[in-house]
Subunit: 230 residues, 2 copies
Amino acid sequence: MTVDISLLRGLALFRQLDETTLSRLMKRATLRRFAAGDTVFEQGAPARTFFMLISGRLKVTQVTADGRQVMVRVVHPGDLFGFARALSRSDYPGTSRAAVDSQVIGWPMADWDAVVESTPQLALNAMQTIGQRLDEAHTRLRELSTEEVERRVAHTVLRLTQKAGRRDGDGTRIDFPISRQDIAEMTGTTLHTVSRILSGWESRGIVRGGRQRLTLVDSDALRQIADPEI
Amino acid sequence: MTVDISLLRGLALFRQLDETTLSRLMKRATLRRFAAGDTVFEQGAPARTFFMLISGRLKVTQVTADGRQVMVRVVHPGDLFGFARALSRSDYPGTSRAAVDSQVIGWPMADWDAVVESTPQLALNAMQTIGQRLDEAHTRLRELSTEEVERRVAHTVLRLTQKAGRRDGDGTRIDFPISRQDIAEMTGTTLHTVSRILSGWESRGIVRGGRQRLTLVDSDALRQIADPEI
DNA sequence: CGACAGTTTGATTAATCTCAAATGGCGTGG
DNA sequence: CCACGCCATTTGAGATTAATCAAACTGTCG
């Protein structure tokens, strides 16, 4: 059950790889489908497979020792995820769940080192991917450390509409179900505070809300909240 | 002005590299010294060199748009730093400054791709290094999102004594000058709050303070604060 | 030995969490 | 097909943490 090469064409990570290399890669890969709500892997489980998201959207969360949940990131199509081996871990540090029906390719984790060593170009790409993730993490660290909640939520909503935006009438809608609770877990606050903030914005015509739905209407106003010009 | 190979022996990143590869690597490397307080590179400057810390200790900080400072990390001997290329950036995202007199090896950033492509083993190692950094960043994100200030400070102090601890009488001292302000910038709070917390701990005999100095005396008690057992 | 940077401490204020309860949209089973 | 129930959301009030404002204190270095 090998995977069609054409799926990989056009994905940044595989750019610059020749046909032969690509087909060698795909020989070991398997395609899987997950329905909305399904779990791709669970925090703490042995990491036997690493993945790339082809279509759909995933949420990766971690649960802290005292039971609070944090959303580590949203996985968008084309993103590599679950590459625990690269972090020198033998288990998955978080749980990833499909937010909508999703398609995923998986490779045996044991292949990671071989793949990286035999395909230096891919190693570079993978490193840049992880590097970007590190950059994002630092950005969030900076925001959590220095910004008050409303600005953090603003930055998060801006990023979400950028990465997963879809035109919807006069605005841009986040293209997968996302709750106030989700946004709270992404910004280190409570769903109550997020709800209050979004209600405030809605009454000012900046966003339109809904059950697990959010549409950005006035992105200039939101940018102004996120980064007030002095 | 090439660098002695023996400096690299024993550093995790270069393990498993043969003599030839190592000496090829070192041909392009230069050794530099920095006095305490000196700047190795400045945020926003073009990233022409990537580095490894040989001895000493560095603090890497970022300044936010509105002028607040955040400490991204402390660089310990053996750590790679300033590898902007791996994050696909052309400038340094932060400023790194020597906390004590330090020795550093630098390579031309232009060599990065070549080095990685020609030395797959190093690519893997570098990726794991970046991966660990990502893991650390996620840990801090989790802490900032879910823990109150005292626990965050406790975790930070535990990590510092682990990574840079030096026996000192009945305790473990952090082996470089670190101010209350520094700790505040690592935990997303103010120096006032950090001061109050450390004073409290000192009166309970958990730590001993001092000007730019901190010694952990009762690590069990501190662990208990960091992770209360239900 | 003095000046200064770093530290401590107090009082007040503001942001946000917590606790509590009501409301409303949406999918589904009868 | 519609009514019901569930889950997400909204909103209010009070509690609490930590920031801010303010000032005094002190260990080191020149």
